[in-house]
Symmetry: C2
Subunit: 353 residues, 2 copies
């Protein structure tokens, strides 16, 4: 491999220069991930669709609006309570399309397998993908498989990309949050991340926590039916958890956000496990939850519609958008104090998805 | 990771049972790759679009025909004479769309980076992707980056997926080759594979061979303008080279194929390097060439149109489709004999793209 170019000749702006090499946090969905996007990918690939920073990009295609999204999955271990990398890979991309207001239709699958990976494990992953696709109502229509030498991969990495159609004309996206919007989360937070941690090598602990991996398509249809154009932002709080998603939206919309810790739905097992590991559940990944920003007056109808859906039974209003402290997320704590909930810098839980 | 399921309980048909684990050849684009697709992916994901086995899948989307394709890139080294993994990742997916008769429009990019990978190298790859996208006339509109621990990746893996629009109503695809079709290749074969080998660790040799990586969009527009619905199949002969592509098409269309070795365009440096390594150029990967199957009477016009394009100046008719020996590719050799050109079993040159 030729020498990488001299840093001094390279036009990438600060603060990426502080890191001459990739660190785990660059994949964590926090501040370092955002820096890579802002200082490297956006300047290079510059276009409007990319700059909207949604979970999926909305592009125009022969008069229609197409949603297009991709995610790579490197979760460890590959099989965990409640799911596998196969479920995650399908549901993750389906959800990125759904929260963009699209009906997910077609997926591609790219596999990078390590020499020696058991075919039986691959069959199990593929089976999980097929089942998840059927449940989500999408078709896997194209794919590719590469194999790397033993020691150059980690069993199985999966990429999915997906396309869907955006109907309606409402504009929705992370830049559209407005003061007084209610913020609803569809159920308990942190389940996926803690399910993974409970079986992570060197860290196993006994628990009944299962990943919440699920396709949100049906739930989101209910949200849009009840909320229509009053739904301003939807996001599935995966890597970096609810806290990172809220920070991204606060920054993109230039609004303040206030959340109430005491109403945040957290399973007691998840809370205990977080305490054990010194983690804050608002930073822990979810794979079957959605955050909904909706105009105040339509919030009760949306909340009711969500609670009527199996995946939204525990939906609750966790906060609101405010005029003050633009770009900042503030939590009212259980003891009545206020604290800033910052974007995390790097990665709290590596390779969670 | 839970134990993989017992093989005896698993319904995957032969011949995959012969391989309990993934071997390099499962990613080689030959017979083993085909077996994975036939016996594992197709039964699991069953749908019409997937079963057409084209380079891209053609799906219907609100009344339009959408082409959708994906490829992962694990080439080693990342930078090589004539290009980089960045060029390959853009051109590869652009070409898969183009040979399906689509106008490529939008790409997604998924990166799996290894902890410690130099940011400067990443910047260079991203820069190559941006330039290749501009040249090909496509936009990179969505992306994702994951990071894995040092020792669990190989610097940088890139996945791209792409969408394009198929205009016109002609059906084209690997199942549409017909007896008496002329087979044209757009230029010299084996350049990409031998460029990679010339810089492959432990194998370096002095040569001026450069990868042919290029977006074929413009050339293919000329082919379709000149050939219209008489163009029955197009394919870019990447992994597994011309021989594997021809075998796939012979099998999918249930036709015989005869090629003439003496007219096969091979650079003298490529031929020498192949002799040195004991390789046959028809099995060596290309990243900027297209095979065109066109009705005999339109072949001269298509050939002329291709030669008028910078990427098709060395286009030549290399063979034809015949009624005999369905599914079999036969070469007339330089010395006047005939030999079967089989699908390769595994991988001649690992990690070539």
């Amino acid at each position: 491999m030729p020498e990488p170019p001299d840093f001094s000749n390279w036009s990438c702006p600060l603060p990426l220069r502080d890191y001459p090499s990739i660190v785990m946090g660059h994949g964590g969905g926090g501040k370092l991930s955002a820096e890579l996007i802002e200082h490297l990918f956006l300047p290079a690939f510059r276009n409007d669709a990319l700059e909207n920073l949604g979970d999926a990009s909305i592009v125009s295609l022969t008069g229609n609006r197409l949603a297009f999204s991709t995610d790579s999955f490197v979760v460890r271990p590959l099989f965990f309570p409640g799911g596998s990398i196969g479920d995650l890979a399908v549901n993750g991309t389906v959800n990125d399309l759904a929260v963009s207001g699209a009906r997910p239709l077609y997926l591609s699958v790219g596999m990078i397998l390590e020499e020696g990976f058991p075919i039986a494990s691959l069959a199990r992953i593929v089976d999980d993908m097929a089942r998840a696709a059927r449940t989500a109502g999408v078709q896997i229509v194209t794919g590719d498989t590469k194999v790397v030498e033993k020691g150059h991969g980690d069993g199985c990495y999966v990429n999915t990309a997906g396309v869907g159609v955006v109907s309606g004309t409402e504009e929705m996206g992370p830049k559209r949050a407005k003061a007084a919007d209610a913020i609803i989360v569809s159920g308990t937070i942190g389940d996926h991340g803690m399910a993974i941690m409970s079986v992570r090598e060197g860290l196993e602990f006994q628990t009944t926590i299962r990943s919440d991996t699920a396709a949100l398509t049906g739930l989101i249809e209910q949200v849009l039916q009840a909320g229509g154009s009053s739904v301003h932002v939807m996001r599935d709080p995966t890597r970096g958890g609810v806290a990172s998603s809220l920070n991204e939206i606060a920054a993109a919309s230039n609004v303040g956000i206030v959340i109430e810790e005491k109403v945040m739905p957290v399973r007691s097992e998840v809370r205990s496990a977080c305490e054990l590991l010194g983690l804050d559940p608002v930073y822990v990944a979810n794979e079957g939850k959605v955050l909904v920003f909706v105009a105040e007056n339509r919030a009760p109808a949306v909340l009711e519609a969500m609670r009527a859906h199996p995946l939204g039974r525990e939906a609750v209003m966790i906060g609101k958008v405010v005029d003050q402290h633009p770009g900042i997320v503030v939590a009212h704590t259980v003891i009545g104090a206020s604290r800033v909930v910052p974007m995390q810098i790097g990665e709290q839980l590596p390779r969670i998805c």
